[in-house]
Amino acid sequence: MSTYYFAIVGHNDNPIYEKEFSTVNKEQRKEDHRHLSQFIAHASLDLVDEHKWKTANMQLKSIDRFNQWFVSAFITASQIRFIIVHDNKNDEGIKNFFNEMYDTYIKHSMNSFYKINTPIKSPMFEKKSEIFGRKYLLS
């Protein structure tokens, strides 16, 4: 029973990619969390701003929490923010997931047809995030 909400946030605080990973199957899951996850992820951006200059690391670890949800973050060199809202601790998995997604994101951003800060709609990207999510977050 663990759920992860992953979002990549662009420079205008706009989500450019969103994905949910959950071990709970779709019927059982309440849809309720989806907007709350967005609220939590958005609110945590303030703390990303606070933490990003405090460390040379791109991994910002767990930076915020709201009730039972934790927020882990990662920031790229170009200030694109990766946020995960999760309800159980999994530092190692999240770290690996962030690294892999960073790699994928970099490759995707190299595509000259992709404009930075616009929603990512690549099926390839989607597939990769699915794979890494299953590998690092849900396993």
Binding site: N12, D13, N14, P15, K30, E31, D32, H33, R34, H35, L36, Q38, F39, I40, H42, A43, S44, L45, D46, L47, D49, F66, N67, Q68, P119
Partner: protein, 1330 residues
């Protein structure tokens, strides 16, 4: 009463006011009467003057004099009781509801303009009420009555007696054990003072003084005060300022109705329904948090019942029933006094001064000496008893208990442990915490409270610090927390606050919250802490503490605190606007659960300022939905429908079910809005979306007047895609116009009828009165549930020529009368689909046909329709989808800075003009190669004026002949066979036009009004298989006077035909008899039609030649093995069968024309015919076909060299200068074709051109050979002027390979293979260019 609002108090003032000394007041009935003349009670009367105007001096225990600045006394009726829980809750709710502040300020953070309220009076009011309704507690004394005022009237005849009675009553209250409410600070020796109110306007002062003296002698000098008031008659007008307005809080009666409407959760169900989005329930999520904080849910407002522990501990002997039965002092909270009446009407400035003086006098003469006395007593008590209280029991107790409150409380893993510990504490508390009033610890605390109340913060801090240590040692956590709280406040008031003292407060809150489970006190401590931390600018700390105090048991409190926390995030450095947004949403959520709709609405709107345009789709939806719901409840329907409309935007991530419920609510809201304010008229729809770029307008629509099987001219279809076709049409039109204008110079501009995004209307389109205009527009459904559209109509505005404006907007307004509605509907007739169903996220085209009955300027404004969800057709909404004027993208060539607006929806309607209707007899969709189809064209003038002249233009004149076409001249190619044209002056463009433009009905006028004419025409399918299109453009000029705007009109027709290959014919000329040198024509025929039952009959062979004719006697069938008997004749070629035959040629006499012959006679001379194996009814079939000798036969077309429209002048000249001698074979055939279960008889002609001996010409496939031939002639620079067979004699000498053999007279192909390849390559280039 505590006053915290509306006076611009700073943090210190607020704390001072909260902890001001409490003075009880009891008054005689006569004194009450005196006060009531001012519409006030005595307590209220004193409120504005409760602050001492001058400094007072206070001597502490060491005898040092401390000046007390701005001391405020808190007067309170002794009969006043804190309200019981239900009432208190109502009061808190109302204090929030009634406090509104609509003024906003704009703060810009991170580029976002946030509109925030300038102040939050609802929070201040709530805080004031919250502090006011607190019950005095056992562990602190600031809320205990310090002294008592007994109020008497000078008019009382038995003033002493009354005073005695009151004294008795008060003393009874004070001496009762155990203590009941009200509580007294030092019950054993309360300061009771006496006030005599004298009415200056009525009473006799000397009599009053007499009574006063008597009183003084009875109760002591310093305890009695005489105040003279009411020196003005209350009936007289008094222009004294109302000092009381801001102090007195009675609920105005008028508010009762509004407050219930605005907030007041009428039932829990309703409160839930406000916030619960079908699939979005934030409340459930927050419960998790609450459960962490709260084990036992206690009513937030009753300290009495916080927990069982507390009840026992705090030794309230009064049962909860007795409290419930207590009445609230009507003077304070009830509505009995008219709230709106002015206060203090009987008071003159002198009286006000008297009251002020009285307060000062009372403080200095009576209260402060009493307090000094108390301080001394308490200090002594503390010093004496120190050490004594260290009882054996408490010492024992310390063995068991850790002395840090909640040491393990924060550790979640140790919940069990904490619970056990709590129970243990509870037991201990019950056993040992019987601090008597005289115990040293409580004396210390009391001392601290006294010092604090009288502004001696230094000593107060010391006392509290001492008390804190003692209580901690005794593990008396509630007392400990109270002392900590006060110590922190003392440090703050002293100005020596630092990290540690802030931590005191933090510890106090945690202790109240986790150990004592006293939500109320924790809240109060948080509110106090908030003031301290704000002064120190530690905003994030404030936010943290405020957020901690949110819990499930009180939505209102949580909402207020969350909102304050949200504002704190905005003033931190750097500002955290995203945290703000989240917390304001949480606050809004709590407000809505608490039934505070206005505040919920406000909070969510504030949050939306951060979230808008950020693409957090679901979050945005939650906000918008709540805003919509709250706005709906608050009757702000326009806001509500705007938010609902936002929820239906394209790209929403909501589920279908969710969206359909949004849609339902949107429709309901809009309908309510329209019902309430009908003056709004038609409201724009949020759904479906009108795809603005898809608007197409067609101004030329074929009137439907063709009778089947006649086919009307195809004209322009409104949905026709933009293709390169348009330029072909324009070229034809240009040729027509120039021909019609008989070379008068003018600038040609193609006429436009269809306006789309790709073909924008830069000029105003013209519509004709009485002729329909078509309009198509795509509607898109952006949601995941199907919707139905009904009552579809167009909204338009017509400006007549006399500048009168009519519009059908009035049809949709209730106010207008039915007569004008009918008149408007008659002006323009609109027809379209009655209803339309749009599937989920589908896009569909909607067609309209407008028929204007008037002239003027017409603007089409929008589509009116009734939208309903498919699932619920009953709930529908009438609204408007507006057309927006599109901008024309400036073309790259013209970089004009001004933006052009598309005017396709503002048409000009011109009066009626003649209209030509064109229809045709049907042409099969599939033809055989070379097939000839007769077509008759019916032209009909539908207008009321005659049509002057009609022209027909065609893009492929080779495939078309007209019966009445009068060929005055021979085609150039045929003419060149008679004479050399290279010196003739021929104009290229004119020749091209001559080939392609035909004038029809050559008479004046061509067609009278309502007249119809039929013209015969034949079409021949090309000899190559594949798709074939033929375009016809009819041009007709209008009478010059009829219309200045339109000079001519056009009718288009296009045929799309699929051509199938059928007969393949090859022919070559050979010398059949070397001796007689007789020439023979070998003809091979093959039926290559794909379908097997096709039968082909070869009717006849005709030879078009200058020099030869066919020998009608000699027909040698070489191969008839595969010939079979068919349905229409004895000899037919079935599919995939072939046959061949030879016919012989005879030389003709050289033709002699005195001058240029007519086409007919030329054809007649040169043609010779041979019957081959005709079908039975060949004669009959031939009647429908143009005979070869006629000028309208296709042989003439075949012999005509059609120029390409973009041919260069050089090419043109070269072409007309050269004549290539050749013979042309025309094979006339018929075929029986099986098509779609129908048998069809087709007839056609195949042409084969032969140039040289032994060369094989074929048809189809001859095209390439012709090119090759032409090219080879050019390369050879040949000047042959005669047909091939004639070369025979003349050429013999020039042949280098000349031989005796006759064969040599045929010109052999002299090219080497490689050369031929090269030539072929060039041929391709030519083909491509063509």
């Amino acid at each position: 009463m505590i006053h915290l609002t509306g006076q611009g108090y700073n943090s210190r003032d607020i704390i001072k006011n909260i902890f001001s000394p409490l003075i009880g007041v009891v008054s005689s009935s006569l004194a009450d009467e005196v006060c009531h003349r001012n519409n006030l009670s005595f307590v209220e009367l004193l409120q504005p003057f409760a602050k001492l105007p001058n400094d007072a001096h206070f001597r502490d225990v060491s005898g040092t004099s401390v000046s007390v600045r701005g001391l405020r006394l808190n007067f309170c009726d002794v009969d006043w009781r804190p309200p019981q829980t239900v009432l208190a809750r109502k009061m808190l709710n109302e204090s929030v509801t009634n406090a509104q502040n609509d003024r906003t300020k704009v703060v810009t953070i991170a580029g976002i303009d946030l509109e925030l309220p300038t102040a939050e009076p609802w929070f201040e009011q709530w805080r004031e009420t919250f502090l006011a309704v607190q019950f005095p507690a056992e562990h602190e004394f600031t809320r205990h009555l310090l002294s008592c005022l007994l109020v008497l009237s000078s008019a009382d005849p038995n003033i002493i007696e009354t005073a005695q009675k009151l004294t008795q009553r008060v003393q009874q209250m004070q001496s009762i054990t155990p203590q009941k409410l009200p509580k007294w600070f030092q019950p054993t020796e309360v300061l009771n003072s006496y006030v005599v109110l004298h009415e200056a306007s009525q009473g006799d002062l000397s009599k009053a003084q007499q009574g006063f003296e008597l009183l003084k002698s009875t109760f002591g000098d310093n305890k009695c005060f005489l105040v003279s008031i009411n020196s003005v008659d209350s009936n007289a007008m008094n222009d004294m300022p109302d000092h009381w307005a801001t102090y007195i809080k009675r609920q105005p009666k008028s508010d009762n109705t509004t407050s219930t409407e605005l907030s007041a959760p009428k039932s829990p169900q309703e409160a839930v329904s406000v916030i619960s989005m079908p699939a979005m329930q934030m409340s459930q999520l927050l419960e998790g948090a609450a459960q962490e904080n709260e084990q036992a849910i206690v009513h937030p407002l009753s300290p009495m019942q916080e927990s069982a522990t507390e009840a026992i501990n705090s030794k309230f002997s009064i049962s909860s029933e007795s409290i419930a039965s207590q009445t609230i002092n009507p003077n304070v909270w009830a509505n009995e006094v008219d709230a709106d009446a002015p206060h203090g009407q009987s008071l003159a400035a002198r009286d006000i001064e008297n009251l002020r003086h009285f307060v000062q006098d009372y403080a200095v003469r009576a209260l402060i000496p009493y307090v000094e006395h108390l301080v001394v007593t308490l200090s002594e008590g503390v010093t004496n008893k120190k050490g004594v209280s260290k009882s054996l029991l408490s010492a024992t107790k310390r063995w068991f208990v850790t002395s840090k409150p909640g040491a393990g409380a924060n550790n979640q893993n140790a919940v069990m442990y904490v619970t056990i510990q709590t129970i243990f504490y509870t037991v201990l508390i019950i056993l040992f915490y019987s601090y008597t009033n005289e115990s040293a610890e409580l004396q210390t605390r009391k001392l601290g409270d006294l010092y604090f109340m009288f502004g001696h913060y230094n000593l107060a801090f010391q006392a509290y610090h001492q008390a804190k240590r003692d209580f901690n040692a005794d593990s008396a956590w509630q007392y400990y927390a109270g002392a900590l709280e006060m110590a922190a406040l003392s440090a703050f008031m002293l100005g020596t606050a630092h990290r540690k003292t802030y931590d005191y407060m933090e510890d106090a809150i945690v202790c109240y919250l986790t150990v004592c489970k006293l939500q109320q006190f924790a809240t109060r401590a948080t509110l106090l802490s908030m003031e301290c931390l704000k002064t120190a600018r530690l905003y994030s700390e404030v936010a943290k503490q405020l957020i901690r105090m949110t819990s499930e048991d009180s939505d209102l409190r949580s909402a207020l605190l969350l909102e304050q926390a949200a504002y704190c995030f905005l003033v931190t450095q750097p500002p955290m606007h995203r945290k703000y947004a989240f917390h304001i949403v949480l606050a809004g959520n709590r407000y809505s659960r608490a039934g505070q709709r206005k505040h919920a609405y406000r909070c969510y709107r504030q949050a939306y300022q951060v979230f808008q345009h950020r693409e957090w789709s679901l979050a945005e939806d939650h906000i918008q939905y709540t805003v919509a719901k709250q706005a709906y409840m608050l009757k702000q329907l326009d806001e509500a429908s705007r938010s609902f409309a936002h929820l239906l935007r394209p790209g929403s991530l909501q589920s279908a079910q969710q969206q359909s419920s949004f849609l339902k609510e949107y429709i309901q809201t809009q309908n309510d809005l329209v019902k309430r304010s009908p003056e709004l008229g038609l409201l724009p729809h949020a759904l479906p979306q009108l795809v603005q770029s898809s608007v197409r307008v067609l101004t030329l629509v074929q009137p439907p007047c063709a009778q089947p099987p006649q086919v009307p001219a195809s004209n322009i279809d409104i949905n026709s895609p933009v293709t390169s076709d348009e330029s072909i049409w324009h070229k034809i039109e240009e040729m027509l116009v120039i021909t019609a204008a008989s070379n008068k110079p003018f600038v040609f501009k193609p006429s436009r009828y269809l306006y789309t995004k790709q073909q924008p209307a830069t000029e105003i389109p013209l519509g004709v009165q009485g002729e329909p205009i078509e309009l198509s527009v795509a509607l898109a459904n952006s949601v995941r549930c199907p919707i139905n559209l009904t009552d579809i109509d167009l909204l338009w505005r017509l400006t007549l020529d006399n500048e009168e404006v009519i519009s059908n907007v009035c049809v949709y307004e209730q106010s207008s009368d039915s007569a004008s509605k009918a008149a408007v509907s008659a002006a323009i007739k609109i027809s379209c689909l009655a209803s339309l169903e749009l599937a989920e996220q589908a896009e569909q085209l909607l067609h309209f046909k407008l028929t204007p009955k008037l002239t003027g300027r017409l603007s089409i404004l929008g589509v009116v329709c009734r939208v309903a969800a498919k699932a619920e057709p009953a709930a529908s909404l009438l609204g408007l989808l507006q057309f927006e004027t599109q901008r024309i993208k400036p073309t790259a060539a013209k970089q004009s800075s001004q933006t052009l607006l598309d005017s396709r929806l503002s048409l000009k309607l011109v009066p009626q003009v003649p209209a030509l209707s064109v229809s045709f007899t049907p042409v099969p969709a599939e033809l055989l190669t070379g097939e000839i189809v007769p077509v008759s064209i019916t032209l009909r003038n539908l207008g009321i004026a005659p049509i002057e002249e009609i022209y027909l233009g065609c893009d492929n004149p080779r495939c078309l002949t007209l019966l009445d076409q009068q060929h005055t001249e021979l085609p150039i190619t045929m003419l060149s066979s008679l004479k050399d044209l290279s010196n003739d002056k021929l104009v290229k463009d004119k020749e091209i036009r001559r080939q392609r433009v035909f004038r029809l009905l050559q008479r004046q006028p061509a067609l009278d009004a309502q007249e119809g004419q039929t013209i015969s025409m034949w079409i021949q399918a090309p000899h190559t298989a594949g798709p074939f299109t033929l375009r016809l453009l009819f041009y007709y000029a209008l009478p010059a006077a009829a219309n200045a705007h339109i000079k001519y009109r056009l009718v288009r027709h296009i045929w799309h035909v699929q051509v199938q290959s059928c007969l393949q014919a090859d022919a070559s000329c050979v010398i059949s008899n070397a001796v007689s040198r007789e020439l023979g024509l070998d003809v091979n025929l093959r039926n290559v039609h794909a379908a097997s039952p096709t039968e082909v009959y070869i009717n006849a062979l005709s030879l078009y030649s200058k020099e030869y004719k066919v020998n009608a006697q000699k027909l040698l069938v070489m191969n008839n093995m595969e010939l079979a008997t068919g349905q229409a004749g004895a000899q037919c070629l079935k599919a995939a069968k072939c046959c061949s035959f030879q016919c012989r040629l005879l030389a003709k006499d050289p033709e002699q024309f005195p001058n240029i012959p007519t086409l007919k006679s030329l054809l007649h001379t040169r043609l010779s015919r041979l019957e081959i194996m005709p079908a039975k009814n060949a004669q009959q079939l031939d009647q429908h076909m143009p005979t070869l000798q006629e000028p309208h036969s296709f042989l003439a077309n075949e012999e005509t060299n059609y120029f390409n429209t973009n041919i260069s002048t050089e090419e043109f000249n070269a072409t007309i200068a050269s004549y290539v001698p050749h013979v042309t074979l025309a094979l006339s055939w018929s075929a029986l074709v099986q098509q779609n279960e129908m048998q069809r008889v087709a007839s056609g002609l195949h042409f084969i051109k032969l140039y040289t001996l032994y060369e094989t010409g074929s048809c189809p496939g001859a095209v390439e050979a012709v090119y090759r031939r032409r090219l080879s002639m050019e390369v050879e620079q040949s000047t042959h002027e005669f047909q091939l067979p004639e070369e025979f004699g003349n050429e013999a000498a020039t042949e280098p390979l000349g031989d005796d053999d006759v064969a040599d007279f045929w010109e052999p192909n002299e090219h080497y293979v490689s050369q031929r390849c090269l030539l072929e390559d060039e041929t391709f280039v030519l083909t491509a260019r063509a």
